[in-house]
């Protein structure tokens, strides 16, 4: 096995070098072809080849246990090897995957899932028992898997397998958005009784070949995949935590796909023909959290003043090098149930000053906690400090420890940098904005808001539910604790011969890192 691997590695090195040479001539010949047009052109997918994809990784501690997924690279690997019952479309609405369909009862507290015909890599069919086993493993009271919080609404003791391809989930309360759980990050389906994942068996489009933690995972095409076999023969995930290394590897032909680039790097190489830059919009919400339960932000007028201080365009241009779009203090721009009709908020320093005066908060001093925990955090903090100074507010930027940042700001401090990956608006609300939410960083705890949420979850009709979501979001827009100034693009780069990369899917949704749909020309 070792020999096979190394000879494969040598071969792909040669192929990659040859391809780079070709790419140069191709770029010279076509000249005006933009990367976008080229990728969008519906060419016939070509079979075969091996693609190497570089991700930022988790180091030598990486595991292939799909339920332990925490990082993007974990999610991408798990997606290649495993399936979920559902996944998120580009608008973050749940799309059926292993579940062929789902039907709720009248009260929305019992859901019947019908499975499609699918098989694990060892040939065994995916059955209702596998589903229940996987969910029970995630939800184990002693366990610590990430999706456990998402699965909380399910009463797994009362849930059962009706037959081999039907599962009935009993819920603890009505939950209209139940399919979001099926698509939750890390809610992968593993074979019944699986507990070791050294050589994982899943039902995904690729099957396991070899794994070196912190370095490389090789998988090969699963010809029996229920959705049709992938185009690639083989796929290798390699790990390079330095962004510059991922770009060099791509430019040097050592990999064909590089995940997560800096906006500045992307701009340097965009349109030069050597590599294609793919920007996935709406992937990362960027903002600040104001703790609404303590001074100075327990006064809604101060929060409103802060909303009016932010020059969003300047923040996007400065902290994200322009790679993104401005936010409107609400999560999930472009997603299902997002109230696009609300007016775009802009900087209004006079009004901000008036509000601060009214609240008796003139000459306010605030500490802004930040850390290099995400792209643009420290830069954005610096820019906001300047903007706030214009309204007479002194912002003291405190740069903290990036490894413990999220815990540090959850309950301490008053004002902090924040970001979030893509998730449905409903999940954002339930995880962060209800009185009992586990990661309520704004300390937004409002009884009537909780009630609106519960009411939405007991509402069958999607239009009526949408109206309830709009009411909740209007409330947050007026006086919430999230100052959301932008949505960063997620930037991916590929070799020009790579086709079929989705340009719409926010990071973490179904079509992101979907290597079974990618082919090499």
């Amino acid at each position: 096995m070792n020999d096979a691997r190394s000879s494969l590695a040598r071969r792909s090195f040669l192929i990659a070098t040859g391809a780079t040479a070709l790419a140069f001539t191709a770029a010279c010949g076509t000249g005006t072809t933009t990367p976008d047009a080229k990728n969008a052109a519906a060419g016939t997918p070509k079979q075969g080849g091996r693609l190497r994809a570089a991700f930022a990784g988790g180091g030598a501690s990486e595991t292939l246990d799909p339920h332990a997924a925490n990082l993007f690279v974990d999610a991408a690997r798990a997606k290649a090897l495993f399936d979920k019952l559902a996944d998120f479309g580009a608008d973050l609405a749940a799309v059926p995957r292993l579940a062929e369909k789902w039907e709720p009862n009248e009260a929305l507290d019992t859901w019947r899932i019908t499975l499609r015909k699918a098989a694990f890599h060892d040939g065994k069919p995916v059955t209702a028992e596998d589903i229940l086993y996987s969910y029970r493993r995630i939800a184990d009271p002693k366990g610590t898997f990430r999706a456990k919080a998402s699965l909380e609404p399910i009463d797994l003791d009362a849930s059962r397998a009706i037959d081999a391809s039907t599962v009935e989930f009993k819920l603890k309360r009505p939950y209209a958005e139940f399919p979001n759980i099926l698509a939750a990050f890390g809610a992968y389906i593993v074979p019944k009784d699986a507990s070791a994942f050294d050589k994982p068996i899943g039902s995904g489009p690729f099957s396991f070949v070899s794994f070196k933690p912190g370095s490389s995972l090789v998988v090969k095409r699963n010809d029996a995949y229920w959705e049709g076999a992938p185009h690639l023969d083989e796929l290798e995930f390699v790990v390079a935590s330095e962004e510059s290394a991922r770009v060099s590897a791509l430019l040097g032909g050592q990999v064909e796909y590089a995940h997560e680039l800096d906006p500045a790097t992307a701009r340097t190489h965009e349109g030069k023909g050597k590599i294609d830059i793919v920007r996935l919009p709406g992937s990362a919400m960027q903002g600040f959290v104001m703790k609404t339960d303590r001074p100075p932000f327990n006064d809604p007028r101060v929060r409103q003043a802060f909303f009016l201080i932010a020059d969003r365009k300047e923040l996007v241009d400065g902290a994200l090098s322009g790679a993104g779009e401005v936010g409107n203090d609400l999560f999930g721009k472009g997603y299902e149930y997002y109230p696009a009709g609300l007016p775009q908020r802009t900087q209004d320093l006079d009004k901000a000053r008036a509000l601060l005066k009214e609240a008796g908060a003139e000459g306010l001093k605030v500490t802004l906690d930040t850390a290099p925990a995400a792209t643009g955090f420290v830069e954005a903090a610096g820019i906001f400090k300047e903007q706030a100074a214009k309204a007479g507010i002194t912002v003291e930027v405190k740069v903290g420890n990036k490894d413990t940042y999220w815990k540090d700001i959850l309950s301490s401090g008053t004002f902090a940098s924040y970001r979030s990956g893509a998730m449905p608006i409903e999940s954002h609300i339930s995880q962060r904005l209800l009185t009992g939410s586990t990661t309520n960083a704004t300390k937004w705890q409002q009884k009537d808001f909780d009630d609106l949420y519960q009411q939405a979850q007991s509402t069958r009709d999607a239009t009526q539910r949408g109206a309830l979501y709009e009411r909740m979001q209007r409330r947050l827009y007026d006086e919430g604790g999230f100052l959301i100034w932008g949505f960063a693009d997620w930037i991916i780069a590929t070799a020009p011969k790579v086709h079929g990369v989705s340009k719409q899917a926010p990071a973490n949704t179904l079509d992101w890192a979907r290597f079974d749909k990618i082919w090499l020309a």
């Binding site: 988790g58 180091g59 919080a149 912190g214 935590s241 060099s248 990999v255 815990k407 540090d408």
Partner: protein, 318 residues
Amino acid sequence: MARVTPHLPWIGRRLLLGLGQTAAVVLFIFALTEALPGDAAVALAGDQPDPARIARIREAMGLDRPAAERLMDWVGGLLQGDLGTSLVSGRPVTGYLTAGLGPTLLLAAATLTLLIPLSLGLGVLAARREGGRLDRTVSALTLAAHAVPEFAIGVLLATLFGLWLGWLPPTAVGADPFTEPAVLILPAVVLLSRPVCTISRLVRAGMIDAMASPYVAQARRYGVSGARVTWAHALPNAFAPATQQLARTCDWLLSGVIVVEALFVIPGLGTVLIEAVAARDLPVVQGMAVVFGAVTVAVNLAADLAARRFAPRSEVAA
């Protein structure tokens, strides 16, 4: 040649001292890691810092036990040759070490293989033409090269030879250095760039001193040829101070090459250590501390032995 007689008590003292040093390093690292903000549970929870979940992770990892108890457990295991298991992955720490050691040793060996002849050659060359154009050029070049940080040299070389000229792989992403040694050339050159400057300057200074010394003059009077005087008589004396620097370079190569490993994506010990610290994966950090401590002690012991052998009268050994 030189007599290697009553060194044993001295070696014994050095070994004991080394053991003590290693133990101190381990305790020190344990205390430092404990003092870091947050623990493995917090680091693992990442951007989902649900307090209940952190508490559960902490319990599952045994982090809720007192620090002294965890340290005792670990030392107990260590005495039986057990380095423990990673908090994050549950895999044995020895696995981490062996995985990281291979690439790092390979890189260090490649660097040293080039470093020793190169810096000796340069130093001797410069010393023989003391004050001449060659000497001045070598001095200027080594000073200039020494002033550039590894990161900058690395980026420059990777861009030039990896991307513009396309002669060498710009990174070691996904490659196995044992089957594709080409990926090690650029990192080795980067690693070489600074030690070659310091060591060649030390050799040059030592050579100039030695060449001016009475015993060299005596050897010349006896009619010993110039080359023989240089290589067999002067160089060993000049090399004694350089061996100490070489030992320091060895330590540095094993534990201090983090920048180069990160830049070229070599999954070596430096990378493993950085990631373990970021994850607050205490057993892995401690295991590496033991290994680094032991290696440092062994390498310095070897250097002292070598220095004594090259120049028995200079009494360089501690």
